[in-house]
Amino acid sequence: MKLGFSPADEAFRAECAAWLQAEMTGEFADIRGIPNLCDAIPRRKEWEQRLGEAGWGCIGWPRKWGGRDATIAQQVIFAEEYARAGAPNRINHIGVELAGPTILAFGSEEQKARYLPEIAAGRQIWCQGYSEPNAGSDLANVKTKARLEGGEWVVNGQKVWTSLAHYSDMIFVVARSEEGSAGPKGLSFLLMDMDQPGIEVRPIRQINGEAEFNETFLTDARCAADAMLGAAGEGWKVAMALLAFERGVSTLGQQMQFRNELDAVIDAARANGKAADPVIRQKIARAEIGLRLMRYGALRMLSGTDLAAIDGAALTYKIQWATWRRNLGELGMEVLGQAGEVASGDHYSWPTLPNLFLFSRSDTIYGGTNQIQRNLIAERGLGLPREPRGQA
């Protein structure tokens, strides 16, 4: 058992750190450290493409599809250096971390050739069409319908909370493709172009004033018959595999961003004298300890060869980081005091800590709420009896 990375990995760290530092202090200095998800979208699209050109877009993918065949250690290192450099949130997180790995796992060679190089090049932004007004935690309750007509799927229904749909080129949609089916049966996983008359996107304003997510209406929206991952009617399997990517390895890169956020709280406490308050000191220590334990939990998970153990650690990881960050949001406000409740200009727009406070209320909701996570941990991790389910 060892803590650190190998010399070869550290050399890799130096290489990516140098490149990222150069970009973030040079051409892309204007988007360094921006806190809000929807700020400077055109510039961040350019940044995605710059990452792609330089081969840093999707380093864990095979070279053949625009990746670098990077090891997990290298992916962790890149994610750490990415955040350390203050590089902005990946606007194509869903394409890179969710759609891409799912296409790699379930796609035909032809589908891989069609989508993966575009994602790797930063030219194709994706969004996730899972949730519906009546299918949130109970995702298997989706009502959006897909039927084959000629050589195409025709899709009707409504998705909701679709993050970044208004900036996306592609959406993956979970839709009911078998008439009369219910629950996880009879669903298909479709890959659809956003730029078509059958798809209408309406941004929804959020708690922090931003509009990152949307309602997505599908009215005779279309995609080719073969624009589907997995077999018709077996989309649930694909959808669940994707959620494992969402809840597992892809969240690791967040840790250095969390480090930055905790450092912002520490800086604020130093600046206004709260760093001397023993209660605040205890809370900052708890946050520091929680962050370190997340890091070593992740390293444990990624170093492990025992897949069952990895699943166990991964199961608890989502609720752990989400709860940690929500608490950090509250701590940031406690440190700022009332000053945190006043914006600096005349817009309802928030700097890092107040924005963290507001935004982090969603961390314990998306990607499976804390309650759903506890059910998963209890049922899959501890083997307890399943929740009784009613007839909807």
Partner: protein, 351 residues
Amino acid sequence: MEFAFTDEQAMIAETVRGFFAENATSERTRKAMAADGIDRELWSSFANELGLAGIGLPEEHGGAGLGMVEMALVAEAAGAQVAALPLLGHVMIGQAIARGGSEAQKAEWLPRLAAGELIATAAWAPKLSVADGRISGTFPFLPHGASADLLLVHSGSEAWIVDLKGAGVSVQAHVTMDQTRPFATATLDGAQGEQLADGDAAIAGALAAGWICLAAEALGGAQATLDRTVAYSKERVQFGRQIGSFQAYKHRLADMMIEIEQARSAVYWAACAVDEGSDEAQVALHSAKAFCADTYFMCAGNMIQLHGGIGFTWEHDAHLFFKRARSIQTLLGDGQWHREQVASAVLGAAA
């Protein structure tokens, strides 16, 4: 990245888990509780058959070699059974001598410690006075103090070992809530102390070993409370259902698992950091001690609640875990103190 057990470490873990599960039974622990809190037969086979008393002690002095990771594996397994063993003082004095003793001191003491011949205890943050190597002071809350042969005390950057059976020493045994690790008060009145050659190294070694030992015991204990409660939740039926199928019940078990997974990272992070001499070692040790102790207490409290009435009885083992958890919280610095050390590392010293 190799933050996973080596094959050898996995084997040690399996061996010690099996050993304690088979031998440190509730029955034997309770027998020891009724006496001085030490299961001597267990201690003897632990030291002599398994050679585990020498873990973390150098091979040239009769130890088993290996480091804090392996020591943590042992303490975790012992903690899972709330074993009645004088492990805490043993690892503290062993590391104090191994790291801060002269060659002669190592040659004299370590083989005897590795053989389990001596029972040791250590004083936390003691107040003492020394004149010509003769030590005076009162040392309360010594774990297994009434049965111990040797006492480790320190002051500033000096450390001594004291023969508790020697002249100028009186020891008062206490009735302690956790009867698997009863406390005693030693009063030294000009007792002869043997000063360790490098006090700073001895103190650092003793504290690191003590904190890891407690954190690892807490981890093992917490996991055991979860495992036992999960098993009970599948047996016990109320309202026509297994109680483990009720969401309010299973969410508490899930919360235990979430904390335990972090506690596991904490113990092995701290142990590795000490073994590697990492810059992070101090923060890791304080984090592990504070976090694991709190986790254990939360889990042991839940164990009682989730067992209902039976969990409140003397007959059931839940109280052994609960009392051990409570005592781990306060031994060698409470959670607030450890978190303040982390805060100092992050924010600078308190104003």
